[in-house]
Amino acid sequence: MPNLIRNRALVNDDPWLHLDDDDAVPTSGDVTVSWQRWQTEKGEIGALNGRLGVRLDGDFPIEELDTLLGLPLIVVHFPAFKDGRCYSHARLLRTRHDYDGEIRATGDVLRDQIAYMERCGINAFEIRKDRAAEEALKAFDEFSVDYQGRSNRAFPLQARRD
C-alpha cells in the first residue's frame, strides 16, 4: 500500500528518492537532499538527469526561502507532530513567495494534522508508515468552513463571507 497522498489522492508511483547526506547520488531518477547538502553540492547533483528537491526542517531560516523557489519539490519535515514550525514555512512559501511546486510533509505525519497542513499550503503527505494513508484521506472532508482561508484565500470576515 502506498503511504503517499498528493492533491488528496493516493499515489502509487512516487518517483522521488530521499537521499541521506552520505548516500551516493544515482545517475538517473528524481532525488531530494537535505538543505545542508544542497548548499554544497547543488551544482553536481543538479547536472544529473533527474529532478532535484530539497528537504528542510523547522530550523530553516525563513529569510532563505526565496532561494528554493526554482525547485519542483520542497520537503518540510516534522520530527514530531507537535513541532509546528514548518506550518509557517509552508504558509510563507505559498503566500509570500507564490511557490507553486509540490510541498511535501514527511516525518510524524498523521491523519489529525494533515488538514491543517493542507490549509498552510502543503499538498503532499508521506503518512507515517504504520498508518493507512487511505484512512487519512478522510481528514480533508472534516471541515467545509474555516476562518483563516486556505493559503490562497482571504480571511473570511463576516463582510466577506455572506
Binding site: 509546528g84 509557517s88 472534516e142 467545509s144
Partner: protein, 549 residues
C-alpha cells in the same frame, strides 16, 4: 452579544463530529495516548485526578441566559450538579465521563458554545474586562475586537502547534480589569493624539512558575492592523520559541532571552511583509460589522433613580450588598451587579446547576438576558436598573449568591487544587475555607478595604497567586502540604509580582499567618491607605518579622 451565523455554526458542528470520531478511534485503539492527548486538549478535555475534566470556552466571559441554562443542564445531566468558573472566564466540569464528552459538546454547539482551544499549545480563549460596554472609564468597547481575534485564532492552521499555550487579553478602559500585563499578549485599546483608535501592544507577560510582567513592544497600533500584527508576533514565536523544554517554552522566555527591543524588531520586520495584506488588514466595514453585534441595550428611560435611596437607609443587608457588589454604570439609572460566587459555604468560583439556572432567569428578568464571568471567578449582571436592584438582591440572596464580599479578603481567587487537579501539590479550597472561617466578620472585612487574596495549589499559578496583594502558593514538602506566602502583587495598572514573606508555612498555620499579616497592616496603615499602599510604603520587613516571631 455576538450571534453565530450559519458559517460559525457549521464550523462548531463539524468540530463536534470530528471529536466524536477522534474519541471513537481512541477508544478503539486506533489513536495512541499521546496522539489523542493533543486532540482532546484542543477540545478542552483533560484527564484529571479522579476523572476527565472538560473546560468550556466562554469567549471574553460573555454568556446569554440560554447558554447559562445549557451550562446548568450539563452540570446536572453529565456531572455532579456544579461547575467551576475559572480565572480565564471559562467553566470547568470535573466529572464528565469521556464517552459522554462528544454529547456534551453537541449540546453546547446548540447554544453556540464549544471547548475549542481551551487547552493545548494553541491560542486560548481571549479574555477581557467584565464591565466591557458599561464601564464609565471605557475608551472603546473591547468585545468586537475580542470576537475578531476569537475568529482569527479559531482552528488557525499555522498556530495550532505552538511551543506552548498562548493567552491574549484585551481591555478598552483606563483601569485594566483584564490583567493585560500578565498575558502572552495584552492589548489596550486607546486613541492617539489624532483621535484614531488603536491598541498598545504588550508581550511576554505571564504567571506560572516564572511570573513576568509584559513589556510594551508597540505604543500605538492602528485598529486595522491588529490581526496582521498578531500574525507577525505568533509567527516569530512559532519559529523561535523553545521547544526543547516545556518550562522554557512560553513567549515570555523568548522575549526575555532576546530582549523586548530585539523581539519587537523581529516582529516589525515580519510585519512589514503582511501589514498591507488584504487577507489580514481589517477594513472599516469589517470592524463595523463586528461592532454591530454589540449594540447598547435598550435602556429604560423611566428608571426611578431616587427609589433606591430609602431602601438603602432602611435595610442594612441590602445596603452592604449595594455598596460592595454593585458598580457604577455609564448609563444613568443603571448599575452593574457582581453575583458573588464566594459564599463561604462553597468553593470559590463554583456554582450549582440551580444557581446557574437562577442567574439565567434573573438575567432575563433584570439584565437583557446576558451574564458575564469575571477573572476573579464571579458572575456579573451588567445592566440592572437601580429601581430593580432590591428585587434582584432578594432573589440572589435566596440562592446564596449575594454574599456582600466583592473586592474584600473574602473574594478570594482560588484554583481547584489538590482535590481535583493532577498538577496540584496542595489543597487550595480547604485553605480558602479556613481563611473564610477566620475572617467571618463582614464589618472587619470592610474595614480592611480592597484586598485581593489569590490561592494556587501549585506553581502553575491558575489561582494567580503571584499577583495577589496576598498570594498563597501550595507546595509539597516531603509529602506534606505547605504554603508559601507572597505580599504586594497586583494585576491592575500598577502590576507587580509579590515578594516572598519567608519560608513556607504548614497548612494549619495559614490562617494564623494571614491574621498576623492583617494585624500588621492595620497597625501600620496611615489614614485610608489600602493594604497594597501600606505594603509598598513599608516593604516586606515588618510583615516578615511578625509572621515568624
Amino acid at each position: 452579544m455576538y450571534q453565530y451565523d450559519h458559517y460559525d455554526q457549521q464550523l462548531v458542528d463539524e468540530r463536534v463530529a470530528q471529536f466524536r470520531d477522534q474519541t471513537r478511534r481512541y477508544l478503539a485503539g486506533e489513536l495512541s495516548e499521546d496522539e489523542f492527548l493533543v486532540l482532546r486538549l484542543q477540545n478542552g478535555v483533560y484527564i484529571q485526578r479522579h476523572a476527565p475534566m472538560l473546560r468550556v470556552s466562554i469567549p471574553y466571559g460573555l454568556l446569554s441566559s440560554a447558554q447559562l441554562r445549557t451550562l446548568a443542564h450539563i452540570a446536572r445531566t453529565y456531572d455532579k450538579g456544579y461547575g467551576h468558573f475559572s480565572t480565564r472566564q471559562n467553566i470547568q466540569y470535573n466529572w464528565p465521563p469521556l464517552e459522554s464528552i462528544p454529547d456534551i459538546l453537541a449540546d453546547l454547539a446548540k447554544v453556540e458554545m464549544h471547548g475549542i482551544q481551551t487547552s493545548g499549545n494553541c491560542i486560548r480563549n481571549v479574555t477581557s474586562d467584565q464591565f466591557a460596554g458599561v464601564a464609565e472609564d471605557e475608551v472603546e468597547d473591547p468585545r468586537p475586537y475580542c470576537e475578531l481575534i476569537r475568529q482569527w485564532a479559531t482552528l488557525h492552521p499555522e498556530f495550532a502547534y505552538l511551543p506552548r499555550k498562548f493567552k491574549i487579553a484585551v481591555t478598552g478602559s483606563a483601569r485594566d480589569r483584564a490583567a493585560t500585563q500578565v498575558h502572552d499578549i495584552g492589548l489596550q485599546l486607546q486613541r492617539n493624539a489624532a483621535g484614531e483608535l488603536g491598541v498598545r501592544v504588550l508581550v511576554g507577560g505571564g504567571l506560572g512558575r516564572t511570573p513576568i510582567i509584559g513589556e510594551v513592544i508597540r505604543e500605538f497600533l492602528p485598529e486595522r492592523d491588529i490581526l496582521s500584527y498578531l500574525d507577525a508576533i505568533l509567527r516569530v514565536y512559532n519559529l523561535r520559541g523553545r521547544r526543547d523544554n516545556m518550562y522554557k517554552a512560553r513567549i515570555k522566555i523568548l522575549v526575555k532571552a532576546m530582549g523586548a527591543e530585539a523581539f519587537a524588531e523581529a516582529v516589525e520586520k515580519e510585519w512589514q511583509h503582511t501589514r498591507n495584506d488584504p487577507a489580514l488588514q481589517l477594513a472599516d466595514e469589517d470592524i463595523a460589522r463586528f461592532k454591530a453585534h454589540f449594540p447598547r441595550p435598550e435602556y429604560r428611560t423611566d428608571v426611578d433613580t431616587a427609589a433606591v435611596d430609602p431602601l438603602l437607609d432602611g435595610n442594612e443587608a441590602f445596603k452592604r450588598w449595594y455598596t460592595r457588589n454593585t458598580v457604577s454604570h455609564r448609563q444613568p439609572g443603571y448599575r452593574a451587579v457582581v453575583v458573588s460566587l464566594k459564599s463561604p459555604a462553597q468553593a470559590p468560583g463554583d456554582a450549582t446547576d440551580a444557581q446557574m439556572d437562577a442567574v439565567a432567569k434573573l438575567a432575563d428578568r433584570f439584565s437583557f438576558g446576558e451574564a458575564r464571568v469575571t477573572h476573579q471567578q464571579n458572575l456579573v449582571l451588567a445592566d440592572v436598573a437601580v429601581d430593580e436592584l432590591e428585587a434582584l438582591w432578594r432573589d440572589l440572596d435566596a440562592r446564596d449568591l449575594a454574599t456582600p464580599n466583592v473586592g474584600t479578603l473574602g473574594d478570594m481567587i482560588c484554583c481547584p487544587g489538590l482535590d481535583f487537579c493532577s498538577l496540584a501539590n496542595a489543597g487550595s479550597i480547604d485553605v480558602a475555607s479556613d481563611i473564610n472561617r477566620r475572617f467571618d466578620d463582614l464589618d472587619y472585612l470592610y474595614d480592611l478595604g480592597e484586598l485581593r487574596v489569590n490561592l494556587s495549589g501549585c506553581m502553575n499559578g491558575c489561582g494567580h497567586h503571584s499577583v495577589g496583594h496576598i498570594g498563597i502558593l501550595g507546595v509539597d514538602k516531603k509529602g506534606e502540604e505547605f504554603y508559601q506566602i507572597t505580599l504586594g502583587g497586583s494585576s491592575a495598572n500598577d502590576a507587580s509580582l509579590g515578594d516572598r514573606l519567608g519560608p513556607a508555612v504548614s497548612k494549619d498555620k495559614v490562617a494564623d499567618t494571614m491574621e498576623t499579616i492583617i494585624h500588621t497592616y492595620t497597625e501600620l496603615r496611615e489614614g485610608e491607605e489600602s493594604f497594597l499602599e501600606t505594603y509598598r510604603r513599608v516593604g516586606v520587613k515588618p510583615f516578615k518579622e511578625r509572621a515568624y516571631a
